[in-house]
């Protein structure tokens, strides 16, 4: 979305636009962007995949009784996501644990890599998060119909409500079901975009000598907050996937 915005006249010195960091550019040369063009988004998504594979490969290569650093991080992440799936979605959802684990690790690593100075936050683009959210939406809908058949429609027909209210509630439930992928993707992208833009706005204030100390303090504080938000948004994305999965596996209210 912000990627379509033109760079507002190439800036000089410390004057820059806070949204310039989200511009998608080809990695080699400067031609038009097609679907096959290698851009900075491709590079940083690839880097987070590499980081994910490395973490898990190095973490599981030794399988020591007393875990080292990589193994500890890998075990922590695995145990954390596994417990979340079991607690929120129930034991029936454990077969789908690898999908949620992959989503969570990819998002958390993309967010953390995006926090590096001069890097690119791939999850700040709705095009990236929408693919993941639509994937979750389609997967959950297919699982719901495969596991429950027509009984999946009882998700929209709330049998505990008074009969007169049920059609109105069904309409609301159907709308909220189809808004899920929208809110699921925009939540992650919006949080990432907003936080990074705020950091850049404070960075622009650093050019004014009078308030630059305040600006540096503000950047540090925002950076700490962003580190927290990066993790929490990945957690929220994964936990909402678990909630949707639970709805698909047990649609009866």
């Amino acid at each position: 979305m912000a990627g379509t915005a033109q760079p507002s006249e190439k800036s000089d010195g410390l004057v820059f636009h806070p949204m310039d960091q989200f511009i998608v550019e080809p990695l080699f040369g400067s031609g038009p962007i097609h679907w096959y063009t290698v851009t900075n988004v491709t590079l940083w998504m690839g880097l987070s995949i590499v980081a994910l594979v490395l973490l898990m490969l190095v973490g599981t290569s030794k399988r020591a009784l007393v875990p080292g650093r990589a193994q500890s991080v890998g075990e922590l992440a695995y145990g954390f996501v596994h417990k979340m799936v079991e607690d929120v979605a129930g034991r029936d959802a454990v077969p789908y644990f690898p999908y949620i684990m992959t989503l969570f690790m990819f998002i958390v690593l993309s967010n953390f890599l995006g926090l590096l100075p001069m890097s690119f936050t791939t999850t700040s683009h709705i095009a990236v998060t929408a693919v993941m959210a639509i994937g979750v939406f389609l997967a959950v809908t297919v699982i719901g119909f495969v596991k429950n058949g027509v009984g999946f429609f009882s998700l929209f027909w709330i049998s505990s409500a008074p009969l007169a209210l049920r059609p109105a509630l069904a309409l609301i439930e159907i709308i909220s079901y189809f808004v899920r992928p929208v809110s699921h993707s925009i939540r992650l992208a919006g949080n990432m975009m907003a936080g990074h833009a705020v950091i850049k706005v404070f960075a622009a204030f650093a050019g004014v000598a009078l308030i630059s100390p305040l600006s540096v303090v503000a950047i540090t504080a925002m950076y700490a907050l962003e580190t927290l938000v990066s993790f929490i948004q990945a957690y929220v994305f994964a936990i909402l996937t678990c909630v949707y999965l639970k709805d698909a596996l047990h649609p009866h209210h």
Binding site: D87, I186, V243
Partner: protein
């Protein structure tokens, strides 16, 4: 001059859309505040409800993010 009025309207609208984020802030504060007051009354049950709190935060926050998105669209897309 006439085109500037449209631009001005977009900027004023973007500013007005940002008031929605204040509402989301109130909502998130309400969720977390109630969670903490409940957790202090019964600390043993608190750990089991952390996930529920985050789901509540996510739902409350989504609407604020929508208004942020409207503001961004008015600033950069319209």
């Amino acid at each position: 001059m006439e085109g500037d009025i449209v631009q001005m309207g977009a900027y004023v609208g973007a500013g007005l859309a940002c008031t929605g984020m204040g509402g989301a802030a109130i909502g998130v504060g309400h969720v977390v505040g109630n969670y903490i007051s409940g957790a202090l009354r019964n600390p043993s049950a608190a750990a089991g409800q952390t996930a529920t709190m985050f789901i509540g935060i996510a739902f409350a926050e989504a609407l604020g993010i929508f208004s942020f998105l409207v503001a961004l669209l008015l600033m950069f897309a319209v």
